[in-house]
């Protein structure tokens, strides 16, 4: 019934009424002339019912034969609606434009989702973009097999990638490489050599032949544990030598604290600038530019419908104005600054391996103060080196 009603609405129909002497004859003549009349009602010589618009145009002769005078009571259906709005050119143009935009935009990549054991980060997005998968690219230009292979070649962190194109949506599935497994499976024959110079304190060899003794001094590159083992039958066996060699090492660090320097200060004035990003098109939502120098803080607001991410982002950048102030230090202040710098460098380079240190030495020049200090550390100096290249 719904289909029938829809069909009648699309083709258009009229509700008619008529007065006359032979309403039954009118119905019979309509039936004989293949004119469909539905829901007819006859009361006291008056007839009313429904008819298609094309049929109503051909009904004049029949009405005359059956002595009926007909009139239209209501017009219903799409043809009348279109006729009513035919002078409004904006509506058809809008419809055409809507479908054009719909078809045109569905040819572009509008959404990328990353699944698997990785989270979609900027790094992954950039890696995918390098392989040819980015928002706003034409779907017909993307070769998923080529992009997949390119991605795996460029990114060794991933062992598996699948790229599925579903309309304007691209689903990427990634699996990370298990580095531990990789290490175990690629057990190439190698020696263990010294990373830095030092005095051996402890050796823990898991595989291979120890070549040094405790208390012995070694230079960088010296052999510590050999991967070449001679067996009792005078044959040679190559193994993947593995060892932990703790040695007392010496590190000399030096820093410089200038008398004249520029200090960076925040002014506190913040200026926000937003950019609307549709696929890979950036639309600035501001006028003018921010004068340098400044510090920036970027925040991205993404829009979602359910779990589907929209190709729409608002990127907001907060600019905080900064100014440089010239700072003049005296000898003592420069020394304090040098000590601070030394502590920072020690934390960064030597971490927690420092056991003892010599007293630091200052060297004053025209430009500033040099501060050097020797640290003695206990650290693992073992380094694998392939036997066969």
């Amino acid at each position: 019934m719904f289909m029938l009603k829809s069909f009648r609405y699309i083709t258009g129909y009229v509700k008619f009424s008529g007065k006359g002497t032979f309403p039954e004859r009118f119905l019979n003549l309509c039936a004989n002339n293949n004119i469909l009349v539905w829901s007819p009602k006859v009361k006291y010589g008056e007839i009313s019912g429904f008819m298609h618009i094309n049929d109503y145009k051909n009904i004049r002769k029949i009405a005359k034969k059956s002595c009926m005078r007909l009139k239209i009571e209501k017009r219903r259906g799409a043809p009348f609606l279109i006729n009513r709005y035919k002078k409004r050119y904006g509506i058809p143009i809008g419809f055409a434009l809507f479908f054009f935009v719909l078809v045109y935009l569905s040819g572009f990549c509008l959404n990328i989702t990353v699944t698997g054991d990785v989270v979609k980060t900027e790094k992954v997005e950039n890696a995918l973009a390098d392989s040819g998968i980015y928002l706003g690219r034409r779907i017909s230009d993307i070769d998923s097999d080529v992009a997949r292979q390119r991605f795996l070649i460029k990114n060794k962190d991933f062992s598996y990638a699948a790229i599925n194109i579903k309309g304007s949506h691209i689903a990427v599935e990634l699996v990370k490489t298990d580095k531990k497994k990789m290490k175990n499976t690629s057990k190439f024959p190698c020696n263990v050599t010294a990373k830095t110079a030092g005095e051996i304190l402890k050796i823990k060899a898991y595989e291979g032949k120890i070549s040094v003794k405790i208390g012995e001094a070694v230079a960088p590159g010296d052999l510590l544990v050999s991967g070449v083992i001679e067996l009792t039958d005078k044959t040679t066996k190559f193994v993947h030598a593995e060892a932990e060699v703790i040695a007392l090492t010496r590190h000399k660090l030096e820093v410089f604290a200038p008398f004249k320097s520029k200090q960076r200060l925040k002014e506190g004035k913040k200026i926000s600038r937003s950019v609307l990003k549709i696929a890979n098109i950036n639309i600035p939502l501001f006028l003018g530019e921010v004068k340098k120098p400044y510090e920036t803080k970027k925040s991205v607001k993404k829009y979602k419908i359910g779990s589907c991410e929209m190709p729409l982002k608002i990127i907001k950048v907060d600019f905080t104005k900064v100014k440089y102030k010239k700072v003049l230090l005296n000898k003592n202040s420069a020394k304090i600054l040098a000590k601070q710098k030394m502590n920072e460098l020690k934390k960064k380079k030597l971490k927690n391996s420092v056991k003892s240190s010599q007293k630091g030495k200052f060297r004053v020049t025209k430009k500033g103060v040099f501060y050097s200090k020797v640290y003695f550390c206990e650290e693992n100096i073992a380094k694998s080196k392939k036997i066969l290249k």
Binding site: E24, L27, N28, A31, L36, V42
Partner: protein, 90 residues
């Protein structure tokens, strides 16, 4: 013409088919008392919401009831809706 009709009726009887099938009789199908489907050439003689009189060629069928309505009427048949209370063959 009458002889042909008699012969066709005889053939119908021989094959145990409904009488009047070959001679152009009308087939009336009732869906409870809410709808009647008339299959065959027919024309309306009288039409109101309590009574519909239909000419089927050989005979006349009269439907009595409440809110009767001729849903469709065409060359092949007719469809009557509403509450049918009585059917009369004249």
């Amino acid at each position: 013409m009458a002889n042909v009709k008699n012969k066709l009726n005889k053939i119908n009887k021989y094959f145990e088919l409904p009488e009047g099938l070959a001679t152009g009789g009308i087939c009336i199908e009732l869906m409870s008392n809410k709808q009647a489907i008339l299959d065959g050439k027919c024309s309306v003689l009288q039409y109101s919401d309590t009574q519909i009189k239909i000419n089927t060629g050989n005979s006349t069928v009269e439907f009595f009831g409440k809110n009767l309505c001729l849903d469709t009427l065409n060359k092949e048949g007719a469809q009557i809706g509403g509450t049918i209370q009585k059917i009369e063959f004249l």
